[in-house]
């Protein structure tokens, strides 16, 4: 059983490495539809566990960190999280925009 467990762990690490190579070739590009997709994903994803929080609750930076935390906790694909972050940043009315 021990061997099986360690073999599975090794297989997963290999899968991860392959995934990293694939991702390097697929860096996100600017996409005008990102906010629209983000709004939709925000509405569908966040309410799976808790009430939806207003975008105004956090600043741009805080949303980035908070959304990354939720990406891990709720197994949300990275591209979906990026869409949600773009939507939240655009909707939180933060005055100082870089």
């Amino acid at each position: 059983m021990k061997i099986v467990k360690y073999f599975m762990a090794a297989a997963l690490v290999t899968t991860v490495s392959a995934g990293m190579v694939a991702e390097a070739a697929d860096k996100a590009k600017k996409d005008p539809m990102q906010i629209v997709r983000g709004a939709k994903s925000w509405a569908q994803t966040c309410s799976r566990c808790h009430n939806m929080r207003s975008p105004k609750e956090l600043t741009d930076e805080e949303w980035e960190v908070s959304a990354t935390h939720m990406r891990v906790r709720a197994n949300i694909p990275g591209n979906v999280v990026r869409d949600i972050i773009v939507f939240l940043k655009a909707s939180n009315n933060e005055k100082v925009k870089k």
């Binding site: 021990k2 599975m8 899968t15 569908q44 808790h50 929080r53 960190v65 906790r73 694909p77």
Partner: protein
């Protein structure tokens, strides 16, 4: 007459010449004086000009010197301006997007509980769970949750609920290392914070001392992969130190520990399918070897050596859309002595638990903003634990009925009652009346 005239004629020019001559001499004498004075004047002017020339020369030299100094200073200034510009650029880049960002989140709750059959009506200080998130660029986040609470004896306790590093390896793969919440089932990892949980506590068998593993120390791979436009597959696969025997036979320590006492790692996790209709179905599994050496426990009891094989499986379902929040979950675990009952020195222990919960926000049927914040909730669950075939004291059926009022999306006041029907006749049933206020931030 003529002679006189002739004389006059002769003398006239002479006289005239003499007059002219004397006039010229006088004139000549005057011109010389003038010239002299003019020469003197010119000499004075020339001397003045010479002086001016010298002064100009001195000025020119001084100007040259100053120009040189100014040029040096200009060069210095230009250098400084350049360095300031580059500094400003660096600063503005830093202001725009620092490499390291953080966010303090968490939740807190307080409450009141009255238990039937005794006089222990108590205000509950509840707990404060700060959650720290520190992120480096877009590929690493450290997160940790502490649980700070006041115990029954008034002492404050601080527990680390989780403390983990998450490496975002790929859009669909995250590597988690450290102490993390158990990925088994849906309640512990996703629903246990009091501002998320629609009820006021964990379902029977899902809290401490139940079937649900609470945390693990090890490494975990997890992520979500879109299967189609409508379906997403999610997974969490964990390899950790695993559970260990508790003090009593029907108890296991299911919190993550930093030492594995048998070097036999626990493999477990959860896979789930999430449909865009907001329906999610999950399946959990865990396999671990458990052992303990013979010895004397701190309280003086004798602990016999035990070796066990632990298996857990479970299934969960969630539907959360609009005003509806529906949850159901089942967990089944068994610990059997390795090599048989006689070899293991203890009886097989089995645990089963399940619950189903329905919450409905009245905003679904009323436009009134006050009524729309009300949310009735009902939960029913069962927990059974048996050593061999003998049901244990903690086995129970539990009803929870409550009404929540949402002051804000993350602030809730919950009221309700809980009915505990213990399955062992010798243990009296209980009814608990509860109020809880929770704030997630």
């Amino acid at each position: 007459m003529y002679g006189k005239l002739k004389k006059k004629i002769l003398y006239a020019p002479l006289f005239t010449s003499m007059v002219f001559l004397s006039a010229n001499v006088a004139l000549a004498q005057e011109t010389e004086v003038d010239f002299k004075s003019k020469i003197l004047e010119l000499e004075t002017r020339i001397s003045g000009l010479e002086q001016m020339k010298q002064e100009l020369q001195a000025l020119k030299e001084s100007l040259n010197k100053k120009e040189k100094k100014v040029a040096v200073k200009e060069a210095k200034l230009s250098k400084e301006i350049k360095s300031i510009k580059s500094l400003r650029k660096t600063m503005s880049v830093r202001e725009a997007k620092p490499d390291s960002t953080w966010h303090l989140a968490g939740y807190a709750d307080v409450g009141f509980e009255a238990v039937s059959g005794d006089n222990k009506d108590s205000f509950i200080s509840g707990k404060f769970n700060p959650v720290f998130h520190y992120q480096y660029k877009d590929w690493l986040i450290f997160e940790s949750e502490l649980e700070i609470k006041t115990g029954m004896d008034g002492a404050t306790t601080i527990d680390v609920e989780y403390s983990q590093l998450d490496f975002m390896l790929h859009d669909n793969v995250t590597l988690v290392v450290g102490k993390y919440l158990s990925p088994i089932g849906q309640f512990q990892e996703r629903l246990h914070p009091s501002w998320i949980n629609r009820s006021m506590n964990a379902p029977a068998g899902f809290g401490h001392g139940g079937v649900q593993p609470t945390s693990e120390v090890g490494a975990m791979l997890r992520g979500g992969v879109p299967v189609s436009d409508a379906l997403t597959f999610t997974y969490s696969v964990s390899l950790g130190n695993g559970p260990r025997f508790g003090h009593d036979e029907d108890e296991l320590e299911l919190e993550g520990t930093s030492v594995d006492n048998n070097s036999n790692k626990a493999l477990g996790g959860r896979v789930a399918l999430l449909h865009k209709s907001s329906l999610e179905v999950g399946f959990s599994y865990m396999d671990a070897g458990i052992s303990s050496e013979a010895g004397i426990l701190p309280d003086g009891d004798i602990e016999v050596a035990r070796e066990g094989d632990y298996r857990l499986w479970g299934a969960d379902l969630a539907y959360s859309k609009g005003p509806w929040d529906v949850r159901a979950e089942y967990l089944n675990a068994k610990n059997t002595p390795s090599g048989g009952v006689s070899a293991g020195g203890f009886e097989p222990v089995s645990w089963k638990t399940w619950y189903t919960q329905v919450a409905y926000r009245l905003s679904g049927i009323s436009d009134n903003p006050t009524v729309g914040k009300i949310e009735p909730v009902v939960r029913y669950g069962e927990f059974r634990v048996s050593v061999g075939d003998i049901l244990q004291l903690s086995a129970e059926k539990r009803w929870n009925i409550g009404v929540n009022y949402w002051l804000a999306p993350t602030i809730v006041v919950k009221t309700g009652l809980e009915r505990r029907n213990y399955l062992i006749a010798s243990r009296p049933d209980e009814t608990r009346y509860k109020i809880q206020m929770a704030y997630g931030f």
